[in-house]
Amino acid sequence: MTAGLPGDGPGDGDVRWYDDAAGPVVRPYAMTRGRTRIADGAGLDLIAVVVAEDPAGRPAAALADQTLSPEHLDIVDLTEGLPRSVAELAAGLDLPVGVVRVLVGDLVHAGLVRVTRPVPPAELPDESILRVVIDGLRAL
C-alpha cells in the first residue's frame, strides 16, 4: 500500500514532517499529516513487538518506494533481527508513540515489518507464564 504514506499529503516539501520543538501542545496534523487515527497502525499496543521482515522476503517495490521517510527506514533498520516494542521505538527515535504507530502501520502495509503480539492485549497469560514471571522477578 502506498496511499497514505507520508509524502502523499500536502506540504511535501517539508523535510521533517514533525516538529521536535512543538512543545506540549501541538496540532496533530503537523505530526502525521492529519492521520491522527491509528487505523493505519490499528490496535498497536505500546508493547506490540515490531520486527523487520526477512530481507529476502521484502517486496522490492516497497524498498524502492520514494515516499518512505527517513523515519520509516530507521524503524526497518532498528528492527532488523531485533524485535522491539512500539514504546522502545518511540523512545529510540524520540517520536511520540502516536507517530510511531502510524509509521509502523505504513510499514506493515508495505510488507517491510511484521507486528507480533503473542498475547492479545485483552487476554492475560496463562498460569505457566505467570509462574515464569514470578520466578524471574525473584531471581533478579
Binding site: 520486527v51 531485533l82 511520540p96 525473584r138
Partner: protein
C-alpha cells in the same frame, strides 16, 4: 537481555518475545521513575503519547476548542525474564486529567503498583480508585522517604479504605530487592485470580 542483544545474528528475524506489562501509578514526584529504574535492565526510557480525541480535556492553558492535542510523558523500563518473555514497567502520568490515557495503558496489564507517600496520601486516591473500579490487581506500595513518618500498614489501609485483599507493602523505590518484592506481590495476585477461576 539476551533477546535484544545487538550482536545477535542479523541474517534471520529473531522470534518475537511475549511482551507483558505492569503499571506504576501514583502522585506527582512519588518515585515512579525511581522504582522503574531500580529493576529495569535499561535506564528508564521516555516516551510521549499524543492525545488527539476531540472533546477530551487538553492542557488547561490551551483553553482552545477543537482538535488540538497535547502530549503526555511516560517512562518505562524493561526486564527480560527469559529469551521469549519480556516484562515492561510503565510509569504512568500522575495528573488526573490524563485518566483516559490510562485505559490504553491498562489494557492487557498484568496489574499495577500504586506508589504512595504518607505525607501526601491523598495523591494516590485517584489511582486506587481507578484500579479498583476496573478490577485490576494492584499493590499499594508506600515509598518510605527519609524523614517521613512510618505508619503501620494498617493505618495506610484504613486511610485509603482498601479492600482486605490489597497488599500494602512499605518499600524503598531506590532498592532493587524492595521493588522486586512489590512486583512479585502484584503478579501473585493475578496468579491467584487465575488459579481461583480454574479451581
Amino acid at each position: 537481555m539476551r533477546l535484544l542483544r545487538a550482536d545477535r545474528g542479523r541474517t534471520r528475524p529473531a522470534p518475537a518475545p511475549v511482551a507483558l506489562k505492569l503499571l506504576v501509578a501514583g502522585g506527582f514526584g512519588v518515585g515512579k521513575t525511581t522504582l522503574v529504574g531500580a529493576v529495569s535492565e535499561i535506564r528508564p526510557l521516555h516516551t510521549e503519547e499524543l492525545l488527539t480525541e476531540a472533546g477530551r480535556p487538553v492542557d488547561d492553558t490551551a483553553g482552545v476548542e477543537g482538535k488540538r492535542t497535547t502530549t503526555v510523558a511516560m517512562d518505562f523500563g524493561r526486564i527480560t525474564l527469559r529469551d521469549d518473555l519480556v516484562l515492561y514497567l510503565f510509569g504512568t502520568p500522575g495528573q488526573d486529567r490524563f485518566w483516559f490515557l490510562w485505559d490504553e495503558l491498562a489494557r492487557g496489564a498484568l496489574g499495577a503498583v500504586v506508589l504512595a507517600d504518607t505525607r501526601r496520601l491523598q495523591d494516590c486516591f485517584a489511582a486506587v480508585d481507578y484500579f479498583e473500579r476496573r478490577s485490576i490487581p494492584f499493590t499499594l506500595a508506600v515509598n518510605c522517604f527519609d524523614g517521613a513518618d512510618r505508619y503501620p500498614e494498617d493505618d495506610v489501609r484504613a486511610a485509603l479504605d482498601l479492600d482486605p485483599g490489597v497488599p500494602v507493602i512499605l518499600c524503598d523505590a531506590r532498592e532493587k530487592e524492595s521493588v522486586k518484592g512489590v512486583l512479585v506481590s502484584v503478579v501473585e495476585q493475578r496468579f491467584a485470580e487465575l488459579a481461583h477461576r480454574a479451581g
